[in-house]
Assembly symmetry: C2
Homo-oligomer: 282 residues x 2
């Protein structure tokens, strides 16, 4: 089941081509995206997702997105969905056509089912590996052209990292900076629990501010947790009470094994955080 909606409110057939071969999204990965989770017809954190889409677009010097039109496109996907209760809606915004400034940006919302692997990971947890992202933690502010705070369509490295994880017998990756500090997953934010404190690395070290991380932090705080956005060293993960990857579609996924070594049993913390997170949308 897939539903494709354009910003003018029309529907498309996802099995048909709509993208030109000279689209900058294809030729250059030059565009931005978001993935929004919809549960029982209700999009989660749509406002923060749209805000981040606008921030990403600004970082790439793309025309300011019409957020109301994007919101309507998401609603069109929801209104026409006849599949399972959960939808992953991708918002895709590419610059236009290479060498042809007259071609308008291409924008669409594509509703897809949640991958079985992701659902299994939510329930059972995952093994992850740390991989060097090659950057120092101070680079993002010094070199904005590296687009480290933007969610761009240029995800070849993120995909290659996931394949490397698979080769190492794991399902996901935690990127580290050259000084060993924790960055993010290829498509997720890293959370760490120590006692009753929940940590995540600060966005200014060159990672994407997480919409789901923010939601989990808000929920955890209400449930009595202290939440901190501060640098985490990869070594700390090993002795933490819990390590989690957060993203729209994977929600809060437990990391049970890191670089082949089992982490502390965090099933109780995981259950508590998931309950708090879900309660917000009940």
């Amino acid at each position: 089941m897939r539903v494709l909606a354009f910003l003018d409110g029309t529907l498309g057939d996802p099995a048909q081509p709509y993208v030109r071969v000279d689209n900058t999204g294809v030729l250059r990965g030059d565009g931005v995206f978001e993935t929004v989770l919809v549960v029982d017809g209700k999009p989660r954190e749509l406002g923060p997702h749209l805000d981040r889409l606008a921030r990403s677009a600004a970082l790439l010097d793309l025309p300011e997105p019409d957020l109301e039109a994007w919101e309507r496109a998401v609603q069109t996907v929801i209104d026409n969905w006849r599949g399972p209760s959960e939808i992953a809606v991708k918002l895709v915004y590419t610059r236009g056509a290479e060498g042809d400034p007259d071609v308008e940006p291409l924008c669409y919302a594509l509703g897809m089912e949640i991958d079985e692997k992701i659902k299994r990971a939510r329930a059972e947890g995952i093994a992850a590996v740390t991989l060097d992202r090659g950057f120092g933690p101070d680079i993002a502010e010094r070199a904005p052209w590296l687009l480290l705070g933007a969610k761009t369509l240029s995800y070849a490295v993120n995909m290659a990292a996931l394949r490397e994880a698979e080769r190492r017998g794991a399902q996901d990756v935690i990127f580290t900076a050259t000084d060993g500090s924790v960055l993010e997953g290829p498509t997720s934010t890293v959370l760490m629990a120590k006692g009753r404190t929940l940590y995540t690395p600060p966005p200014n070290i060159g990672i994407l501010p997480g919409t789901t991380q923010r939601s989990v932090f808000r929920a955890a705080q209400k449930a009595g947790w202290t939440v901190k956005s501060e640098p985490i060293s990869a070594d700390e993960l090993v002795s933490a009470d819990g390590v989690f990857l957060a993203s729209s579609v994977r929600k809060v996924t437990r990391v049970h094994t890191l670089n082949g070594k089992p982490l502390a049993d965090s099933r109780d913390i995981h259950a508590e955080l998931c309950e708090a997170y879900e309660a917000q949308y009940a």
Copy 2:
């Protein structure tokens, strides 16, 4: 004038869409490409371009490309071209469709005219700026998942760097490593002349091996130059006798200004290198 050819020998209409909205090229910049220059019906360095396409594909775990089919697609573009004497033929190879392994990789060759800006740059030279790429020179070998030796479709950073150059009043970029050594341009290889020696940075520092650079080195060597592939520090560029950016479509383009400061007048060296390079294809 544009000509689109697929690997089965058929032609397409470049103004029509052929790419699905879930294509991994669009959604993830997950694929590889090459740009081949064709002059008077003859492709330049087609063998090295196809070899590099195959190497890039291997680094991304893509199925091995059928190089004979790619060669035929390039010839189909040439046979159907009715435009100016020079063509930039893009070879594009994307993985397939996100979450649908049954969709075959998408492969095509797209012939386009050479941009006027590029032709002007060839003749008049350009101003360039150095921009930090954020990586150390030793990262490529340590972290192959960063795909630094692959020509991927994930070029959002390369495009952002070119926009940053424009903001600084320049037309192109020379990326530097965190230790100040010269890497490459966003879409070119850096050459430096000192006396009768031509230098380029070695590929193992995390740059793409240049097809045009190799061709220019071969030609220069025949013309009595010494050629060296060794680390260059950005400081050395300032005192060099000539700095050039080489790529298929820009050929050898002279950098006359770096970070706002004029470089040594390299017009004679440029003329000599261009003549030697062109003589190979006469």
